[in-house]
């Protein structure tokens, strides 16, 4: 499946963007539920991905679709598979598919963009069958591979689906989050410029103390930065992400020299590139249009990231300031949760309380390792000093928090 950016980015919808596979992106799913399937009295939701970002995160389901029932006949032939009628109201729609005599065309599918919502296969001449879908208003296609005209338009009419944009509280939440992200990236730019200036001036010790101060802002907004896989890779990629030695750039490449070689030699070009990339990122993030569900799932990804790359000591393998990154990821997740909390408190107060309590437990667990000024001025102890047993305690708090955060997206829409 082609990875998709988690947030809608109207100004940057170059096709390449969607084809860029970012191996480090932890989340790339803009989700919307397009149809429900009703068969033999069973109601099955058959949502397979967002067909349209503008539908936002609202699960379309039967509650949004109309309650009308229609039957559409589809006759398969060598020529085509035109539906009759070609336009029906939203609701429960049964597609009667029959093959009157085509040997080469034996199936019909209902497509929503590139996605198959329903189909009837293996209809050899003389056979017929049906499938039933609960469809929202929209443009669909009937597809019969092998026919002269393979795709015929099919339209479902009805009131526009209700979306999260009809809820002012969610609109406010997305705006708050956007403002916060932009502010963080602004801090990232300032911090990175100070850091790269020290690197270029050969002030190794100063660069080490500025490294974490710049990075924490990146760790807070990673779900947004990961929209642009190439920039993210250049800024935050690890040595094992790089295809060639020359592809290893950005913070961690500089980190490697600073701590492994205690040197800034040869880092000038890398510093300039890093600075340019974060400036570029600042321009780009201001165009992002956030969806509530994507914000929530971005929070889950941030907490998962703590588990997969901070608890393990993987990310800051040279500087060992992993606990500062932990802090950044946790703060980023908490900001996302916080903007959604007013809505969540209404939709699911129990979950809201659980999330808040588990956040606090995680923050408290982390706080046990806070230090002033801390290892390399990070505000935390050297992560190598944290024992396996202590890491397990941290991980258990993170796990529990992540589990509760993962339930938010489905509740707020």
């Amino acid at each position: 499946m082609t990875p998709q950016p988690p947030f809608r980015v109207p100004a940057f919808r170059h096709p390449l963007q969607e084809l860029t596979v970012n191996p480090r992106a932890t989340h790339r799913r803009a989700l919307a539920c397009a149809a429900t399937v009703i068969t033999a009295g069973l109601l099955l939701t058959a949502c397979g991905g967002g067909k349209d970002d503008s539908k936002g995160s609202a699960p379309a389901g039967a509650k949004n679709a109309g309650d009308k029932s229609s039957t559409v006949s589809i006759g398969i032939s060598d020529k085509d598979c035109a539906p009759t009628p070609a336009t029906v109201p939203a609701g429960t729609i049964t597609f009667d598919v029959s093959n009157k005599g085509s040997a080469k065309v034996t199936e019909a599918e209902l497509l929503d963009g590139g996605k198959i919502l329903g189909e009837k296969e293996n209809l050899t001449p003389g056979l017929s069958g049906d499938f039933t879908l609960n469809l929202d208003a929209g443009k669909y296609q009937i597809y019969c591979p092998g026919a002269k005209t393979e795709k015929t338009d099919f339209t479902v009419t009805g009131a526009a689906e209700k979306t999260w944009k009809d809820d002012p509280a969610l609109v406010t939440a997305t705006q708050q989050y956007a403002t916060w992200v932009t502010g963080e990236v602004k801090e990232l730019v300032a911090g990175t410029d100070a850091f790269t200036a020290a690197v270029k001036a050969g002030r190794t010790d100063e660069a080490k103390t500025l490294y974490g101060k710049a990075r924490i802002h990146y760790e807070r907004i990673e779900p947004t930065a990961e929209i642009w896989g190439d920039i993210d890779g250049r800024i935050d990629g690890r040595i094992d992400d790089a295809a060639t030695a020359a592809d290893f750039t950005g913070f961690h490449r500089i980190e490697q020299s600073l701590w492994e070689k205690n040197s800034t030699a040869g880092l000038g070009v890398l510093a300039d590139q890093l600075s340019a990339d974060v400036h570029d990122l600042y321009t780009k993030v201001q165009t992002v249009e956030y969806q509530p569900a994507a914000i929530a799932n971005g929070a889950t990804d941030l907490v998962n990231e703590i588990q997969s790359s901070k608890i393990t000591g993987e990310e800051e393998r040279y500087s060992h300031i992993d606990l500062l990154d932990f802090d950044g990821n946790l703060a980023g997740a908490n900001e996302a949760v916080t903007v959604l909390l007013p809505v969540l408190k209404v939709k699911d107060p129990t979950l809201a309380a659980t999330v808040a309590q588990r956040y606090q437990a995680t923050a408290d667990a982390l706080k046990a390792y806070a230090a002033t000024p801390g290892y390399e001025n990070s505000g935390y102890v050297d992560y190598r000093k944290v024992t396996d047993a202590q890491r397990r305690v941290l991980a258990q708090a993170v796990d529990a928090y992540a589990e509760s955060v993962s339930k938010i997206a489905g509740k707020i829409a």
Binding site: C33, L42, L44, T45, A46, L110, I116, G118, S406, G410
Partner: protein
């Protein structure tokens, strides 16, 4: 919960491509029904699923295997085992082929109410899974992770049983359970020859999931663990294969990793009188809530397989007191011949004094018996030596853990087998009785 089937991620026609031109006859012959069909059948499978859902999920699930299907042991293999009853399933139940056993500690900060709520949730999830259904909940919302982790979809229920037990630590002052402590529940004393690793010892709770399919058993524990986030922390987990005890003569006696038949003289779990005498907690127990339950003792027993495999056959047989091939006692011809512990040859006992079966035999232990229900395990390769790591994950049920302590004091000190084994993990748990209709583990424990 059958009203909310699992999401179907495929196209609307979930059939295998067969055109459903003819409706299936209402009286369709029972056919193998997988979890997937049970939960999400559409298209061609819908007639079966629709009819069955109307008739109740249980009926459908038990049709999972036809009468012709038999386990390797020869007994007919019912697809599901009743979750509720006087006793918990997974004790007297004929041993399934596979085990997933996990213990948990209650998380720091979790309250009595949290634990009670989790046990209620666990009950519903365990019951659903034993019926071959998914963990309840989940409407296929693309923005929410599915409630069930999904790896058992398409598999049969596999006679899954989920058995819960409570460790001594649970009855401390944390949850107000001190006054409900089952009277014989306390940590096991130090026992001769053991070398216990805290990482595979103890726990506030245990879950024993047994099934004929390892993925079904693992799925059960994984999903309970997932539901437990924030309330319980996994402490250790063990996967078992090759049941090492038959709990019914109907089952062929399996072999342990030493190549010997194990469980020849085990309690026949169908014998209610013997079970009542040795296994089930009876009226003598002052804690009424645990009557009809049992105690589970688990021991992770490492086998020194390389050394054992180099031991000459005659000695291997002397160590056990049985013939390796037939399983017969050294004084007999058939596996089930009673051992003659008095028989001597050349002035020495035919079944040696330090042989395993002599030391463990009820007749030499004042009639003491336990119900063994263990499995083989492996942990791969020893990092230091390159030797195989594995052995017996011993599980036994009894009406007081004192029975195990008595036996193990003898075995741990004198058993010739000790040259080749070592107890490296341990657990003791009170296993509550079965649940009545409408009851759940939370209310049962907290009263």
């Amino acid at each position: 919960m059958t009203a909310t089937p699992s999401p179907s991620h495929g196209p609307a026609d979930g059939s295998d491509g067969a055109p459903d031109i003819t409706p299936e006859p209402a009286t369709a012959a029972p056919s193998p029904v997988s979890r997937r069909r049970l939960l999400g059948a559409v298209g061609a499978g819908a007639a079966v699923a629709g009819a069955a859902l109307g008739a109740g999920g249980t009926a459908l699930a038990t049709r999972d295997s036809g009468p012709g299907t038999a386990a390797p042991g020869g007994e007919p293999r019912a697809a599901t085992v009743d979750f509720r009853g006087a006793h918990q399933a997974g004790i007297a139940t004929p041993s399934q082929d596979r085990l997933c056993f996990a213990t948990f500690d209650v998380a720091p900060g979790a309250t009595r109410a949290d634990l009670a709520a989790l046990l209620t949730t666990w009950t519903a999830a365990a019951e659903a899974m034993t019926l071959g259904r998914q963990v309840p909940g989940g409407e296929g919302d693309l923005n929410t992770p599915p409630d069930d982790t999904g790896e058992a979809v398409g598999l049969t229920p596999g006679r899954l049983t989920v058995t819960i037990g409570y460790g001594p630590g649970l009855f401390d002052d944390r949850f107000g359970l001190a006054a409900r402590r089952p009277s014989a529940l306390k940590p096991l004393p130090a026992l001769p020859g053991e070398n216990l690793d805290p990482a595979v010892t103890g726990g506030d709770l245990c879950v024993q999931a047994c099934a004929d399919d390892p993925q079904v058993a693992f799925h059960a524990v994984r999903n309970l663990r997932r539901l437990g986030f924030g309330t319980v922390l996994p402490r250790w987990m063990e996967l078992g294969f090759g049941r090492t005890s038959s709990t019914s003569p109907q089952q062929a006696t399996p072999r342990n990793l030493m190549g010997f038949k194990d469980g020849t003289r085990n309690i026949d779990a169908r014998d209610e009188k013997v079970m009542g005498e040795h296994v089930w907690i009876g009226e003598e127990e002052p804690q009424r809530w645990v009557r009809g339950g049992s105690y589970l003792v688990s021991r992770k027993i490492k086998m020194r397989m390389e050394q054992w495999d180099r031991d000459r056959l005659g000695d291997q047989q002397d160590v056990f007191g049985r013939y390796k091939s037939s399983g017969a006692p050294l004084t007999g011809h058939g596996e089930f011949d009673p051992p003659d512990f008095a028989a001597k040859s050349g002035g020495r006992y035919v079944i040696p004094e330090d042989s395993h079966i002599r030391l463990a035999a009820p007749e030499n232990n004042k009639g003491l018996r336990i119900l063994r229900r263990g499995y083989s395990y492996t942990d791969g390769i020893d990092k230091e030596t390159g030797d195989l790591l594995g052995g017996l994950f011993f599980i036994a049920f009894m009406n007081t853990p004192d029975r195990f302590v008595t036996l193990q004091r003898v075995l741990g000190a004198h058993d010739a087998l000790n040259e080749y084994i070592q107890h490296i993990g341990s657990g003791v748990f009170a296993v509550p009785p079965g649940l009545a209709a409408g009851q759940d583990w939370g209310r049962q424990l907290f009263g």
